[in-house]
């Protein structure tokens, strides 16, 4: 075989030395200014090929030979990396690059849509109650800082609502973990939410908006659905996992600071909302309340938000809310027909 021209670097100095190399049996022959040397090929490490760039052979003792990249010489050596030679083969083909783009998009989407929620559910189930409670404590502290005040709904009305709500909670496993609080938060408007660990908060504006107790109980049943399915904790876990992944990928920790606020933002997925709705419809029926109450409460909220705040209505997913109202109304009709 012909000599392949290469450059030798001793490792002791940066001076280049022109050499020739060729394989001979188990040996590599190296022809330099001082004649021909033979080196056992098994003692030589070769850099995996990349983009047709010069390859480097590491000789025992620290010297190195640089070979121009037109010939992939890694098959001459037993120490070559099979994985990286395969990756090199992939990297040189446009159709594979396009396919990789598609694979990346599909895999990221699947991980985000399926794997992440599934992992969050597993973790939320496995998490000890004390952790959930402490998250809930944090949220309550934060609520106070955000301008949440004691409720101004009179005691008798609060008591009446609690009384109607209590049987729904009593039917669940570990009813003692759920609790309900009335709070006033003028900046937020009519709203109710579930915090991690089973705590539910309903705001005065919502109680005032929904005239009938059935409607407020329907909303509470919906929040209880979130609490029962551990949606706040699952949301928190998903977002913090995403936070850590993006932090490590992008290298910036600013995303981590916002984690405790989750649950307040309550931007649940459609799936979570519909799970909570189903729970509410079933719970209302069992309690002898028509699911129409839920439909009415949603309608009221929709109208209220529409009138009061054009911006919010632009951002909130309206078709989804319409669907949910229809679903509750349908359930109410079906229930009435059964009777």
């Amino acid at each position: 075989m012909d000599w392949l021209s290469a450059t030798y670097y001793s490792g002791g100095s940066s001076a280049p030395v022109a050499v020739g190399i060729r394989p001979a049996g188990d040996l590599l022959e190296l022809k330099g200014p001082d004649g021909v040397k033979q080196i056992a090929r098994d003692d030589i490490t070769v850099e995996p090929p990349l983009a047709g760039m010069p390859q480097h052979l590491r000789l025992p003792g620290g010297a190195q030979i640089e070979v121009d990249g037109s010939v992939d010489i890694s098959p001459w050596f037993s120490t070559h990396s099979r994985l990286e030679r395969f990756v090199n083969w992939l990297e040189r083909r446009w159709p594979i690059a396009i396919a990789s783009l598609a694979i990346t998009v599909v895999t990221v989407w699947a991980l985000y849509t399926f794997a992440l929620p599934a992992a969050a559910t597993l973790a939320a189930d496995a998490m000890p109650m004390s952790w959930k409670r402490s998250v809930s404590e944090q949220s309550v502290k934060m609520l106070r800082q955000l301008g949440f005040f004691s409720s101004r709904i009179d005691e008798a009305r609060q008591e009446a609502i609690r009384e109607r709500f209590a049987p729904m909670v009593a039917k669940l496993d570990n009813p003692e973990q759920y609790s309900l609080e009335f709070r006033r938060a003028p900046v937020i408007g009519p709203n109710a939410f579930a915090l991690p660990g089973g705590r539910m908060v309903v705001l005065d504006a919502l109680v005032e908006l929904t005239q009938e107790d059935d409607e407020i109980v329907a909303i509470l049943a919906h929040e209880l659905g979130h609490a029962y399915h551990q949606h706040p904790m699952r949301m928190a876990l998903q977002s913090s996992a995403l936070g850590i992944i993006t932090t490590v990928a992008v290298g910036d920790a600013s995303g981590l600071a916002s984690v405790p606020l989750i649950g307040l933002q309550a931007n649940y997925s459609r799936e979570f909302e519909s799970e909570a709705d189903d729970f509410a419809i079933a719970a209302l029926r069992e309690a002898g309340i028509s699911p129409q109450a839920l439909a009415n409460a949603f309608t009221r909220l929709r109208d209220e938000l529409n009138i009061k705040d054009e911006e919010t209505s632009f951002l909130s997913s309206h078709p989804a809310l319409e669907e949910r109202i229809l679903k509750a109304a349908k359930a109410a009709k079906a229930g009435a027909a059964e009777k």
Binding site: T7, Y9, S10, G11, G12, S13, S14, A15, P16, L50, A51, M53, P54, H56, G62, A63, Q64, E66, L83, E84, V87, L90, E91, R92, R93, W94, I96, A97, S100, L101, I103, T104, T107, V108, L111, W131, S134, V135, Q138, A236, S240, G243, I244, T247, V248, A249, V250, G251, A253, L256, A257, V259, P260
Partner: protein, 362 residues
């Protein structure tokens, strides 16, 4: 071009200014080639849930090093993937733990930040520099980094904390000190690099940036006042509201981008132009306008391709940087490797090198 005149040979004609000759520094990567490497490695990283990402990092760095040649010889990135993977797992664990704390116990999270992360930061910076230098080589001689924890603590923790208390007016000091830390502790074989301690350009860059900022503030205030008086009382069609908001937001952000690009190009020249090594030195001449234009077109490329143009952006940015950087020397680029006796001082680093890992997140 490669035969510079060696000073040592002219011992008699002392003080004769040495003839500096330029050694070609070139980058020959192409966007299409890097795109294929990039996307294949991303796909492999994603389907292995991030484990392959360390190998992806090695291949990416090897590509950029290998496509950069000095005097016709490529640079080499010689690190193995496993230490990078370990570094990544450690980073993941630290941030995971911090995230856990900030969710369940924000009080402890702040303590963790101040008493663990903050003291650890200089160590991580130092360690990453050591790692990178150690696994970067040219003509089979590796670089070395000998910066200490104490210097990193001053440069990357104390000065930044001081900045907060001085309204960032000492920012130029930070730029200069970090340049000193990076280059005064850098060796190529036996040859130490040096950063010119009298190097100018840091304070002027800062004050120009401040001036430009206030210029923009005046301009935008003026425009707003002018426009609101012109359009006072006229009802603009609603279809204009959307684009109007977009243009307004862009107008607010644009100055910050432009100032950042301005600072980047000036610092590139101030820092790299101040670096010398024994027989030679770097010269940096990046034009501010050219760099701004490059960066603005980079952003547009990324936005309009949803990020797919990243490899082209990366390649053209590096090509631009290398084009405006040159290596001048008055002697051939001949260097000796650090012998064992030179390594005694670096005992700690050598000892640690068995457990070397790269924690840098980029």
């Amino acid at each position: 071009m490669t035969d510079g005149v060696a000073l040592e040979n002219d011992a008699d004609t002392e003080a004769a200014p040495a003839q500096l000759s330029e050694y070609p520094l070139e980058f020959s990567g192409t966007g299409g080639e890097f795109f294929r490497i990039w996307i294949v490695n991303i796909a492999l990283s994603v389907i292995t849930l991030g484990i392959y990402s360390a190998w992806a990092t090695v291949r990416t760095r090897r590509y950029f090093y290998g496509k950069t040649t000095l005097d016709g010889t490529p640079f080499q990135f010689t690190a193995r993937a496993i230490p990078i993977l370990i570094g990544r797992i450690i980073a993941f664990a630290i941030f995971g733990f911090y995230s856990y704390l900030s969710t369940f116990n924000p009080g402890y999270a702040i303590g963790f930040l101040i008493f663990v992360i903050l003291p650890l930061t200089p160590w991580m910076i130092m360690k990453s520099q050591k790692f990178r230098a150690r696994y970067s080589s040219w003509r089979n001689i590796p670089f070395r980094f000998t910066g200490t924890y104490g210097d990193a603590l001053v440069t990357y923790v104390l000065i930044p904390v001081g900045m907060v208390f001085t309204l960032y007016i000492i920012l130029p000091l930070f730029w200069k000190e970090s340049a000193k830390y990076q280059f005064n502790n850098l060796y190529y074989g036996k040859q130490q690099f040096a950063f010119d301690k009298d190097r100018k350009g840091f304070w002027s860059t800062f004050w120009y940036a401040v001036l430009i900022f206030f210029g923009f503030v005046l301009l935008i205030t003026g425009l707003t006042v002018l426009l609101s008086s012109v359009f006072k009382g006229t009802q603009l069609p609603e279809t204009l509201a959307g684009p109007g908001v977009v243009i307004f937001v862009l107008l607010i952000y644009l100055p910050f981008f432009l100032i950042a690009f301005f600072v980047q190009s000036r610092l590139f020249n101030a820092v790299l132009g101040g670096v010398s090594f024994g027989p030679g030195q770097f010269a940096a001449n990046m034009p501010t306008w050219g760099w701004m234009w490059l960066q603005i077109t980079n952003i547009l490329m990324l936005v309009f391709t949803l990020g797919i143009a990243y490899p082209w952006v990366k390649v053209r940015t590096l090509r631009y940087k290398i084009r405006h950087l040159s290596v001048l020397a008055n002697a051939a680029l001949l260097f000796e490797a650090a012998g064992d006796e030179d390594d005694v001082g670096a005992m700690g680093a050598e000892l640690a090198s068995d457990f070397d890992f790269d924690i840098s997140l980029f």
